[in-house]
């Protein structure tokens, strides 16, 4: 047994270490395969979700298809195809570092801790954490969740903040949104916390949206960015150029209206403040 243990451990560690190390840049990889592989969500309307017609669509996916793909094709001088893979908060960084995907385009918040392992594009959406509760619930925000059972998404920044600010809240973390919502529906938990926009999305998709309400002031700042492998500035520049092009041409705001406008999947008006912030991220040509 002992004689076997050492080689097994070496193998396990060796595999873990060998996989992420790869010399070529992402642009080179895409040039060779002709495919951009993104990791995105399947149940986070309206950013990325599977709709009623069983199509995998959303705002984040549109940004990639209409902004980043054209920028890549232009840079590499040939058409690039898009491939979508599912990624969840716990899997997205490993998917990137293992080269399984090239870009995370979903609902990932840009944080300083995450910047230690991945690089982010410019911010393409701004939101903050709130709570989804039953209409009759006494919960009004983060100030009234002490000793309550709160569901959160595993690996999200919201869970982290609650653990630090309200240690008495009973936090239950689920790997995906449907399970957390089901727990809320059945009463296993009193509230579900996530980024406000995602809660509005969930509410809009619920069988009876009027039974639910989104409450509380933003208790976190959640700037969404697209994540890439670290230290690959050529690829990052192309991604950022694609996004800037979308904002500058106004196409971004058309897409925003398509998904968040009054007749969109999740009505969520763009504040003038956020609009200015987006425009100011665009650097001159």
């Amino acid at each position: 047994m002992k004689r076997l243990l050492v080689p097994v451990l070496t193998l396990a560690l060796g595999l873990g270490a060998a996989a992420p190390a790869r010399a070529e840049g992402t642009l080179e990889k895409i040039n060779q395969s002709g495919v951009l592989v993104i990791g995105t969500r399947t149940a986070s309307p309206p950013f990325a979700f599977v709709n009623k017609n069983n199509e995998w669509v959303g705002f984040s996916i549109d940004l990639v298809e209409q902004g980043i793909l054209p920028a890549l094709s232009k840079k590499l001088g040939k058409p690039i195809k898009l491939e979508k893979k599912e990624s969840t908060p716990p899997t997205r960084i490993p998917l990137l570092t293992s080269n399984a995907v090239d870009l995370i385009a979903g609902t990932m918040t840009d944080t300083r801790a995450r910047r230690d392992s991945v690089d982010f594009s410019l911010t393409f959406f701004v939101t903050g954490a709130q709570f989804l509760v039953k209409k009759s619930s006494p919960i009004k925000g983060i100030e009234s969740i002490a000793a309550r059972r709160i569901a959160a998404q595993q690996g999200s920044t919201n869970a982290k903040i609650i653990r630090e600010r309200v240690p008495t809240a009973k936090l239950q973390e689920f790997p995906d949104q449907p399970a957390a919502f089901q727990a809320l529906v059945q009463g296993q938990v009193d509230a579900y916390t996530n980024d406000g926009i995602q809660l509005y999305g969930l509410r809009a998709k619920a069988p009876k949206p009027d039974d639910w309400k989104v409450v509380g002031d933003f208790f976190s700042y959640e700037p969404y960015g697209m994540a890439m492998r670290k230290n690959d500035s050529d690829f990052r520049a192309v991604v950022n150029n694609g996004l800037m092009e979308l904002i500058e041409s106004g196409k971004y705001f058309e897409l925003y209206d398509k998904w968040f406008g009054p007749r969109g999947e999740t009505p969520y008006p763009l504040t003038p403040e956020n609009k200015r912030f987006l425009i100011m991220q665009v650097v001159p040509k």
């Binding site: 873990g16 190390a21 995450r114 991945v118 790997p175 399970a179 296993q188």
Partner: protein, 237 residues
């Protein structure tokens, strides 16, 4: 794109405490589920070999129903499906006292009980029929024959496959994170969230599972040697 390892994330800050908490939860969950699985497995495994048809049918139904549905589905069943069947007061009490832990325990225990049952049945069926006949001839009732002769011998015979099954149970306890049980795999992901260091956290989790499983396997190998019946169970080497 080279990845620089930062192993210190595993012991700096709260990481060490989380890993320990996760380890304790995994052990608690697995130990309780194992007891349930062993009990259900022995009872239903024995029932499948008794001379009464009704008991055999009942046990067969239990085994085939529970082992042929994925564990993940059972997790959701016990967590989401069972509580609405309980009275309101019991349900509220459960929700306040770690419903997810108990749901995970039942899901694991009942599922692995069905698998354990097959192991035990094969042990019982490998005992020559004459053992049972001799017991009955000596005046034991069928129940006594099982309790005093058949099951004790079968349990000694099945140590190797039962060890595999127990290790499976331990590793399968990680599925409970889907219903928000904060066990070991959950905690390694938690460390990843806080430090964004996935490979280090996953390696720590992998090593802990490996050490646990190798440890249990070693203990079980000793148990097997210690309780082997000389002359009845042939041993290699």
């Amino acid at each position: 794109m080279n990845y620089t390892f930062q192993w210190s994330v595993l012991w700096s800050g709260q990481s060490g405490g989380w890993l320990l908490q996760g380890l304790i939860t995994t052990l608690e969950l697995s130990a309780l589920a194992w007891l349930l699985a062993a009990l259900l497995g022995i009872v239903s495994g024995a029932m499948r070999t008794v001379p009464w048809r009704l008991l055999r049918t009942l046990a067969t139904f239990y085994v085939e129903f529970f082992r042929n549905v994925p564990l993940l589905v059972w997790m959701f069943f016990w967590y989401f499906g069972v509580p609405p069947l309980l009275p309101e007061a019991v349900r509220e009490w459960l929700f306040d006292h770690g419903a997810e832990f108990w749901a995970g325990m039942f899901a694991l225990g009942v599922y692995h009980g069905a698998r354990m049952s097959e192991v035990i049945r094969s042990g019982i069926q490998s005992i020559p029929r004459t053992q049972f006949e001799a017991s009955v001839a000596m005046g034991l009732t069928t129940f006594q024959a099982y309790r005093l002769v058949i099951v004790p011998i079968a349990l000694r015979l099945i140590v190797p496959p039962a060890t595999s099954e127990s290790l499976n149970l331990l590793k399968n306890s990680s599925v409970a994170l889907t219903i928000s049980v904060a066990e070991l795999t959950f905690q390694t992901r938690q460390i990843e969230t806080y430090t964004a260091r996935a490979i280090e956290a996953l390696t720590a989790g992998t090593l802990i599972y490996l050490v646990l499983c190798v440890g249990i396997a070693t203990i079980m190998a000793r148990v097997e040697r210690r309780f082997a019946i000389p002359g009845l169970i042939a041993r290699g080497g």
